[in-house]
Subunit: 297 residues, 3 copies
């Protein structure tokens, strides 16, 4: 169905050392930067409205996360998203804090409408962004991952993004060649949600894997005589990159759990494990890719 | 005198998992979020002036700390404090950086005048906020905790807040039924002040304990036929919550010291210890509650 | 040539506990504060444009780093730099993100022209600030330290600053009595660049060592009958302070490497090692001071 070569994606990340611009919340900037360095990417948290977009042109990829956004950061993100679109840089939207208050919800919806390459959030956030959440159709903050797969699929179709839903088992949804695909990625650890930024930094790493995959994808698409096929190839490559980012986290998250005695030591062990990830560990991550119908039924 | 059941407060925190809005300085946002998660609360650092107050209505409690405040954050805090007051959410003021420069001092005094549920700072900050500090009456930056108890008591009477003074032994002052009470909480470790955010995050945890106690307090007050008695009950419950937050830190701080070889490993061990806190450890914390006169004499 | 007493500088830092104002990027504020505490200084990240300059007058030293600057922070830095100049407080410029986009580059150049006591950056940043970088004269982002020594020397002559270039071996350039001096400081560890903030916090520690040295320097200069000699003495003392800061990091960085299994545990061990630094460790750091010509030839 979809060919997933995680170790190839991981090697590509190490070989390209992509520069990831993070317009992200101040709570997780340090952790996200350390996570990007640990996996082999380079972070840049530049978010001034006067020059963010100029920097996007030299960055390899972009993350947008409005958790503690100021009006200045919203302006910076608007410009950076435009630049990413114009210059065909992959970018990831993390809808964190959607539904917490009206103004930010509006801004997050605007960003989603601008066509991110991928969207990553927890079940409640994805449901809210798809318009299913916040009581609208009865999906609440205790949403579990599989319950929001129809919402994620609708969001994927509407935005063209690959949509990742984080949870005890992550689910990643992509609309490829008219079919909704869903990948489940198993791993992680119970202490992971007790470390702030483990979700937000996964958005940054997703941007890094997408950036690393971009050159290859463009080359493949160029040799295709059929634009539609090229688009399918591109979405398939995007799906692979998003899965690889989640598998990298799943493997490191499980490994860190073996060395931790609480959330403080878990955070330390997680950074060590992200950096030490071996091909064997990555190969052991359980990943299942199916058509969405077979999951829903 | 005042009945303190620390383990009941701790169980209540775990059972309610309060959502704490932190309008706080960017230096300690990550650490404060990790501390809140470790003790069983949920952090949200949302501080945009356009929607901070809307979020306060769904939050369980609020922390205000102007260490790195921008004008935008001052505006957000103004609105959030109004919302907390209107919707009877407990909120904590940390007067960090008072006296460092005039503008912030003015803003911190405005916040104190708005009636926080609790105020938490070190001895110099509490003295400065009470108007005794900065050379005004000879209290300087080497203030020790017991020397500022009269200032803390005056601040408690003027603002209606429970006032906590952090130091090698913490002191917490409350004006209940016409009497100034002071609680001393023993614990912690010499490395604690070398980890940035151990003070600021204690303000966040104080808000969490207050939020967890709020439902119970309201219920008790409602069954009282005497408004004055209800107010006394309420301040007493507030005092218990503030003491419990400090005892949680004191126990974890002492425990972390046994596993640390310096300030880096201490910070890690402290997060682990906050999360692992047992009823036995909490029960071993030395807490003394007295009328303030008996201490001052 | 230049008399370097690292242990005297280290003792002076511990004895004076300087208060360092950091107008710095939000990614590294927490780490920089912890680093300052670990070495025996006190951090203050106050950067509001309304009162930053007032605080500079009571601070012992200032760091300016525009990695995530907002317009507000640029305004705060303008005022703080003026205050540092007027009140003769040592201040350090970290040109991080120069060349990444035009607006910030302009602002960083303005700050450099205001006469910092020291400038600290990596090789590419120093080359860019000196006008050699970004393809202008063929120096690119893979610059190594010794390749940019001529650029560093030109920058030292133009600004009057001691210029530090961070790399596997750090180089520190000063123009003293008409001669360009260069000090090489050996140490550190391969994991150090994988921890965000190890460079930026070195700028903060440089400001701390400069602040600790200031009283002594002023006293020495006052007893000199020759203003030119006093200036030479002053630059020599500045060079010593900058070298001492780098040696402190080099020793702790090497020591941390012995206890780390990856970048997460390295960051923890580094803070512990900064705090535990002994006179013996500092004395073992290899430091070479030469006239620049002998290096360039």
């Amino acid at each position: 169905m979809v060919d997933i070569d995680l170790n190839s994606a991981h090697r590509q990340l190490g070989a390209t050392n992509p520069l990831i611009q993070c317009i992200t919340n101040t709570v997780v900037q340090q952790f996200s930067a350390n996570v990007l360095l640990a996996v082999g990417a380079s972070p840049a948290m530049l978010d001034h409205e006067a020059d963010a977009a100029q920097f996007t042109q030299i960055a390899s990829g972009l993350l947008v996360n409005f958790g503690t956004a100021t009006s200045h950061q919203f302006l910076a993100a608007d410009s950076a998203i435009d630049a990413a679109t114009t210059h065909e840089k992959p970018w990831v939207l993390d809808p964190v804090s959607i539904g917490a208050a009206d103004y930010r919800t509006t801004r997050i919806r605007r960003a989603a409408a601008a066509g991110p390459t991928a969207i990553r959030g927890n079940a409640s956030e994805i449901a809210a962004l798809a318009g299913f959440g916040l009581g609208g159709r009865g999906v609440d903050s205790t949403d579990d991952v599989d319950a929001v797969l129809p919402a994620a699929a609708e969001l994927a179709r509407e935005t063209g993004a690959v949509v990742a839903v984080s949870g005890p088992v992550d689910a990643i949804v992509a609309h490829i060649d008219g079919v909704d695909h869903v990948a489940h990625v198993h791993g992680g650890h119970a202490l992971m949600p007790l470390v702030i930024g483990t979700g937000c930094s996964l958005g940054a790493v997703t941007a890094a894997y997408l950036a690393a995959a971009t050159d290859t994808t463009v080359a493949e698409a160029a040799t295709s005589s059929d634009a539609r096929a090229a688009e399918g190839t591109s979405t398939s490559a995007t799906l692979t990159a998003v899965i690889a980012a989640h598998a990298h986290f799943a493997a490191a998250g499980a490994s860190a759990g073996e060395h931790a005695t609480g959330p403080g030591s878990y955070a330390v062990a997680f950074l060590d494990a992200l950096h030490a990830l071996s091909a064997e560990e990555l190969a052991r991550v359980r990943v299942e890719v199916d058509a969405l119908e077979s999951v829903a039924s």
